[in-house]
Symmetry: C2
Subunit: 259 residues, 2 copies
């Protein structure tokens, strides 16, 4: 058996919390760093390790892995303010390239969990796809080993492909969720409960197990039913109407109508 990987976690937000909680049973979490003492302390208590909130220069220097799980714009300042050492340095951003480490760290990488974490909903981390990229073979080996202790699904993605995956996830997750939010607004205007939509939403997702989303598309636009589309657009105003028209047109453009 190898000895446990020693991990320093920089950050205390949703991603940092999810990664630290998933790593805690398998690794030794050496420190949690956060600019905000209360946040660092909260997470440190959950994973039973010390917290630090003073200068980044004073991080433990002998850990195996340094995980930078902070807001995108804070990644480069963290790298600049912390000390070079022999550890593997990784960040967890979907949209920042590995180049942010260029000239600053030799053994570095990215481990992007494709998931939307929130404090309110615990996610089974083992099910979260992790996309990894590393600067050197040694870095890759250490990162792959670390990622595999956290999730069943570890995949390679360089910064270019990771950016694509991130963009796709905006459509599949953020935008589909916004469709639910707009549906709720449509119902709220008539005091109708959002709950009635849930069986339909679940079926829409279940269909993806059997059909491609394009093949399972239904509704007025998929059948080019202009009467219904005009009637529905007329019930809307503002951004909801613009979205209705643009998405209906897009669905029609993606479907070839024989009839």
């Amino acid at each position: 058996m190898n000895k446990k990987q020693r991990v320093v976690m920089i950050g205390s937000g949703n991603v940092a919390t999810a990664v630290a909680m998933a790593a805690a049973p398998e690794c030794e979490i050496v420190q949690i760093y956060s600019r905000t003492l209360a946040h660092a302390r909260q997470l440190a208590e959950r994973v039973n390790c010390p917290c630090v909130t003073d200068q980044l220069q004073h991080l433990a220097s002998d850990a195996d892995i340094y995980v930078i799980a902070v807001a995108d714009d804070a990644i480069e300042p963290v790298i600049a303010q912390s000390q070079l050492n022999s550890g593997l340095w990784i960040h967890t951003s979907g949209s920042k390239p590995i180049d942010v480490f260029k000239g600053k760290r030799k053994h570095c990488g990215v481990m992007w969990p494709m998931q939307s974490f929130s404090k309110q909903l615990q996610v089974e981390f083992g099910e979260v796809p992790l996309f990894i990229e590393a600067s050197t073979p040694e870095a890759h080996k250490a990162l792959h080993c670390f990622a595999s202790t956290l999730s069943h699904t570890v995949m390679e993605a360089d910064s270019h492909r990771r950016a694509r995956l991130h963009l796709a996830s905006v459509f599949a997750c953020n935008f589909s969720n916004h469709m639910y939010a707009l549906a709720k607004e449509v119902l709220d205007e008539e005091q109708l409960p959002f709950d009635v939509l849930k069986p339909l939403i679940r079926t829409t997702v279940e269909k993806l197990e059997h059909l491609s989303p394009a093949d399972s598309q239904t509704g007025p636009a998929a059948r080019a039913d202009h009467k219904v589309m005009d009637r529905q657009a007329a019930m809307l105003s503002g951004d909801k109407q613009a979205i209705y028209r643009l998405l209906s047109q897009s669905i029609m453009d993606h479907h070839h109508h024989d009839k």
Copy 2:
């Protein structure tokens, strides 16, 4: 025990099939009518009843309920071409009002299943919300009785509210599914597999059990991260770029940013 309700099904598409299959164990399906003999026969065999494909005037005249489950534009011709009798006549359209029966039938109604049916995926009909509306107290009683044998969730919705529900379902189901289709296109360009998005899609839906969709919104637009949004929009073209910009703006407009 009341005797079984006697049902004539007019139509043989996805909704007609789902309703007939759900009704078969509890009701007596008297006839399946379809303009296309092969379709009528196929469904009639599944529910073990005669099929008819000749003139609508020759439908059995003594059924309790006539279910018109055909395309929206075919509903009024069906009513015009069939004979008035003492049965309850209903249609199953989300967007057609009850008025289509005006002057043609006294006991009539609408039973709209809020679900997207397809041949490829069997839906547990008992879980499908049914929205009903009827012209008379007698019609309402018979329709409520019929609907309750099919589903656990029977709700009242007049034509105005049903139109709202239908519109909301377009956002929640058709448009969210189109977001999956666009996400798949983004991945296809790099030969990345759509399957990697499924855990994220499932979590997005699971969150709805705990939070309103607006409260669970995440992503670049929700945090007004213009750098990421500009970078992502630049990776797109055509309708995907227009959709990206419009939906991102809409998400920003719906979120009040304190920071």
